[in-house]
Symmetry: C2
């Protein structure tokens, strides 16, 4: 075997990079994920292209920056015609299968415009973000933008958990002393066990569906995107996970009093916003974080089950396994809740890549600090399956060199970039700026993290001297040169081609310096033509 | 009548801004176009978004910058799903009709991917750049990327002009003393009359087709894009136009010896390239320019015919008429041929807009120097037809304020921008740079023109003190501040949203600050929910 036949791409939702034991969490043991890291490469500087579900995922699923695919916030439809990883894989005979969440909203308007029937094979593929929907479930039933009647609800009903909304009433609620439902949407109830037998809850269900898929997959090569909805809110988990962790396991918040006095308008608006004020409360942290940890522990246990199944089936020998997340969770750090800004706890994700190929033997168990991006996965997968690179479409980098050689690769990227569009957020309402200018761009190199904030001063952090990102050097005169360099790097990136997607570089190279046959520009007479083209002028007509 | 019911959008191909008498040409009288200017507004600072056919037109037809639509050179397919003016007009019940050239290459690969049948109604519309093809003819038969068997050839054959390639043998060749064909592709023969009766040549044919369309159009509002292939090369014109002008009417080239010593690598590579060296020759200029003038004179005469027809039919009362071009032609100025760089003779175009509405009475005959762009036309037309603005899709500005008020509009654009991708050109081969970096961006304000050249120093011209653009101040220390300001303006533009096209601003405004119904983030308990939402927590379930 020289190429893996399959890829299992596991994504947890809202999983912070540092909430796994292999990434150093002191209380949360995740042995199955750790073991995967031991057999693969663990990346310590993996950045998503937007610190929020939809845009981050659209970047992962297209291999393109947010500015390129244009789906800059949750529910902003991915335009029809935006090529996805699924499109690229299907082209080379690989089944791109989704089991779980995509957070993709379909561009129904665009489909209508193009006369594409949503129920046709292509319509379904477009609607499913390029994936073949073995089981699509975007969670949050029925409040999200997706299927109001998911198979998961049917599964609960079939197992006797019946109500108008079993997802909410069983998987995402607890119960009070009098048997009343207490919603997991409310943080106060995060300490309750979810009203559901553990094996029926979302993570085991979806893991089982991945196993179902592998059972049925047959010999055609596949990529299975197993996309867990958890540990994303609602923060509630069934027994026994609900009380595995308590306030004593909640690590101290990474925050400083000085941060509250920030002079940065955008950060200032965020920490003033309701949601951030809520998550900054210690009682909220102590209630939410143990549940969040339980949800992660459950994922690790389920991955143990899945990996055992795969081992048993011999799939570990020919399946690349990637474990990652779509963004982090502030959990009160920096006086913030949710994600959306660019502190590492929000924009950095865990990324573990197990590559079964012999070429990867040199890196097993390696921990790497190179800058990698969420958009790197799609081109990596394409290459694994033997597909031809499409750098004019996919802006990420194939990370195979990092998987196959333990040394420093020459010419690796110097900067990682992430974007955020806060047009819809309370922070913009506080600031009162225009919705088209509610834009942030983060760029980091090995030492500095710089955040461009449209219409405001930038932020700057020294990740070497201040790894906790407490000191915003965005106004400090001593670092004007650094800021200029980082701004220049954003400019360099912004002005590149992002949409020249219909012309492959090899086509451009082949066409370079040649007029189309028959066309003659700036030639005086037949003799000049003949000298230039080594053929009689009349010959040009015979194409 | 408050809104015009129709738009006639005339585009000449490769028509320099200054080769019309209303724009000051001393020898070329264009009374019909001048008369239109007298009844409308004549713009003296209209810039196309790329100084070459395809990209300029794709910008005009989408209302979007080249970096946004991605079709950065001739024959680079316009991606499927890129919304065109035709799409927007069709939506509001207006027929978008093409009569002539688009230079659009269809994204067959994308259509295949999306399962769109090229022969379906939508497939045809996509293939025709959004237009309804009353008569599409991209010229250069059969060497261009379009129809190898055009109706124009059939028309010639039906009129007894039969050969394997009547377009070339009759419309675009002359004849020698012995009756042999002498190709108009060769500059030496530009002084010959084309081998065709004038009324059968391309410009009268296409004008006749526009009249045919108007005859048949009926009552449904329409936009007719009458897109002449001329005065684009091959530079050859039938009698009597072939000898209306001679070397005595060729204005002196705008060039200086000092320009030859340019230190700018890109400009230097261009003037070294074969095509530029050819057009810089005086004998070439004296042979080509009279034919070029004849072709323009013929267009003016044909427009006289068309306008008379329209006057007669009463169409002048309810038809907005726009006369413009897709780019200019160096014709030896600045030691250059063709177009492609950003001197005004290449990137500036004539633009005359006649608006029949009463609101435009205040500006009839006005000459305006505001900066306008090719991408402004599409949103202007949409507005004329009563369509709702789509600023998230179309990046141009509606110019109606400039048509309806003679005063200076507040907040008009400060900068005009144009881009050029020279990946395929000889200049890149001379420079040896990477094809993805063969990028130029021009930005000008009321005084300065700045050209960013990726990988090289910028160019800068002072259009006030040096309107001929002889002195490149790109390295002059005195203007470092100006250069910085212009670079900053490009950066500002480059980092804007260019692809957030699936979300209208009004939708974003409506959604701002609101979670989707049912979703609750960062709320501690029922009481807090109730205080925030003025409804019982349970009520949120009833959507």
């Amino acid at each position: 075997m020289t190429k893996p036949m399959n890829v299992l791409w596991i994504m947890a939702d809202q999983l912070r990079w540092d909430y796994l034991s292999c990434y150093g969490h002191p209380h949360l043991e995740t042995p199955n994920i750790d073991r995967l890291a031991g057999r693969g490469v663990r990346f310590t500087n993996a950045y998503v292209q937007s610190p929020i579900c939809g845009p981050s995922r659209m970047s992962s699923y297209t291999g393109r920056y947010c500015r390129s695919h244009g789906s800059t916030w949750n529910g902003f439809p991915l335009r029809v015609g935006e090529p996805t990883l699924g499109d690229h894989l299907r082209e080379i005979g690989v089944r791109p299968v989704i089991v779980g969440k995509t957070h993709m909203k379909v561009d129904t308007r665009g489909m209508e415009w193009l006369g594409i029937d949503p129920d046709s094979t292509i319509g379904v593929s477009i609607s499913e973000c390029g994936f073949e929907p073995f089981e699509r479930d975007d969670g949050l039933h029925p409040y999200g933008s997706y299927d109001p009647d998911p198979d998961y609800d049917k599964h609960l009903r079939a197992n006797g958990l019946d109500s108008e909304n079993p997802w909410e009433d069983f998987a995402n609620s607890g119960k009070g002393d009098d048997g009343e439902l207490l919603s997991g949407w409310l943080l106060k109830y995060s300490n309750l066990p979810a009203n559901i037998p553990e094996e029926l809850s979302e993570t085991p269900y979806m893991t089982g569906r991945a196993i179902d898929f592998m059972e049925q997959a047959g010999d055609k090569p596949w990529l299975c995107h197993l996309s867990f909805i958890k540990p994303h809110w609602p923060y509630i988990v069934p027994a026994p996970y609900h009380d595995m962790y308590g306030p004593e396991h909640v690590i101290a918040p990474v925050r400083s009093e000085a941060e509250k006095a920030t002079t940065h308008p955008v950060y200032g608006a965020y920490i003033k916003s309701r949601i951030c004020r809520s998550f900054a409360r210690d009682d909220v942290r102590e209630r939410v974080i143990p549940a969040y940890m339980g949800l992660i522990k459950q994922i690790d246990d389920q991955l143990g089950r899945l990996f055992a199944y795969m081992e048993n089936k011999g799939l570990m020998d020919n399946t690349m396994i990637v474990m990652t997340s779509d963004h982090g969770d502030y959990l009160g750090d920096h006086w913030m809740g949710e994600k959306e800004l660019f502190h590492d706890v929000s924009v950095k994700v865990p990324l573990i890549v197990y590559d079964p190929r012999r070429e990867a033997d040199a890196t097993r168990g390696l921990v790497r600090d190179e800058l990698v991006e969420g958009i790197d996965l799609a081109p990596t997968f394409l290459s694994c399956f033997g597909g031809k690179a499409k750098p004019h479409v996919m802006e990420g980098r194939n990370i195979e060199p990092l998987l196959h050689d333990a040394g420093r690769p020459a010419g690796w990227r110097r900067y990682a970039i992430s974007e955020y569009d806060y047009a819809l957020q309370e922070a913009r309402q506080i600031l009162g700026n225009d919705q088209k200018d509610a834009r942030l761009i983060m760029i980091r190199d090995e030492r500095w993290k710089y955040v461009h904030a449209e219409g405001f001063r930038p932020m700057l952090f020294d990740l070497q001297d201040d790894p906790a990102e407490f000191r915003d050097l965005g106004e400090d005169e001593r670092f004007a040169d650094i800021r200029q360099r980082m701004a220049d790097a954003i400019f360099h990136w912004a002005r590149q081609h992002h949409n020249r997607i219909t012309m492959a570089p090899e086509t451009i190279d082949r066409m370079s310096g040649r007029e189309p046959r028959g066309i003659v520009i700036g030639v005086w007479d037949e003799a000049e033509y003949e000298a230039l083209n080594k053929e009689p002028f009349a010959a040009r007509k015979r194409a």
